[in-house]
Amino acid sequence: MNKKILDPAVTWKEITPGGTISDAGNAHEFKTGDWRSDRPVWLSDKCKQCLLCVPVCPDSSILVVDGKRTDFDFDHCKGCGICAKACPFGAIEMKEEE
């Protein structure tokens, strides 16, 4: 099966039978960021780059580039706040999503 992105515009004639998902690793295509009611704010001046926040994120939404964390992947972060609890330096604040 060719990889199909079943975006919200897909018609019943094109959708895969029974909701079958083709190809592996395509959860990335499903944007869950809009489920968020609280938003983590990364305070980079307080961040020591200890990376304790990275493995606790259930949505793999803290991206690490060259051994350093970058800002959140807000397409997938659901705003659970675990990273803010895990941070020993108060470098992540949870704010209500607007």
């Binding site: 079943l6 019943w12 959708i15």
Partner: protein
Amino acid sequence: MAIRDRLSGNEAVAVAMRQINPDVVAAFPITPSTEVPQYFSAFVANGKVDTEFVPVESEHSAMSACIGAEAAGARTMTATSANGLALMWEMLYIAASSRLPIVLAAVNRALSGPININNDHSDTMGARDSGWIQLYGETNQEAYDNMLMAVRIAEHPDVMLPVMNCFDGFITSHAVENIELLEDDAVKAFVGDYKPEHCLMDQDCPIAVGPLDTVAHYFEHKRQQAEAMKNAKKIILEVSAEFEKLTGRKYGLFEEYKMEDAEIAMVVINSTAGTAKFVIDGLRDKGVKAGLVKIRVFRPFPVDELVAALSKVKAIAVMDKADSFNAAGGPLFTDITSALYGRADGIKVVNYIYGLGGRDVKTDDLAFVFDELQEIAKTGKVKSVYNYLGVRE
């Protein structure tokens, strides 16, 4: 050359399964369907089939195992009755909506309670909206033939829906009748190999089955499922035509018996059709223009074809071996009247709930119904639309 034999309905269906040689059978025993997996497990034990037989601990597990196997790409079958079918309920919908062409021998039995092991149609009628194709058969021969055709119908790329092969518990399942079987090779050639377009075991083309379907997609899947059910009617007729070439036995969406010039008609499902034909023959001898429509395909419901068959009669009795408890009529009655509405208005249609829990349906009972139909046809007046037949008043 066909093989002449004498078999019970259950044995005939088990023989059909042996000839089909499915990849997986997962089943749990329940009267009156028990003999189907019982005979079949003997075929497994004796090396007559290559099937993986899964003796599960419940019908919920049976259907779950069938779903897993079918999704993996295995041709899969099971059998059940009554409360067993009820315990499968959740999984019936999942099988249909996941578009898995499982074949189920549904041996009709009254659904408890009060607990009763005898025949009526309350089990499969309750499952009529589960998304399964439902075929019904009057005789052992029809149960056998439908089992063979069910595989082809279910697995057709334009359909990909599960099929229930329904026949009456004890009356058909346990009574021995003469039957004509196909040669094993002929069945093998007729059903062919099962090659689904996509399946879990296809390592070159990995898929995930049964994901969460959110607001954005669920509705489109249901629309697609509805289309498959619409497609099924054509495919059923195509497969039946091919089967007729092979066997000489003709199957349509329903059978018409002496309907050409009929003025009054009965609509019935399964074994009672035999009794009704006998009564009609007697009436015809007396010059009464009575006819019968015996439903074979209940899902999809052949609306246009039924209207064409019934539109010339003056009065119709729809016989339901299950009640809907809607205080208005049984499931077949409401579907027939819905079909006629706006397409063939003015025909008087009455409903009889009959034979619940295995109550015998005698020729006198059906003769009484035809008497009532004659009266309705003559006077144009209907005393009562929704009736119970053969119950002690």
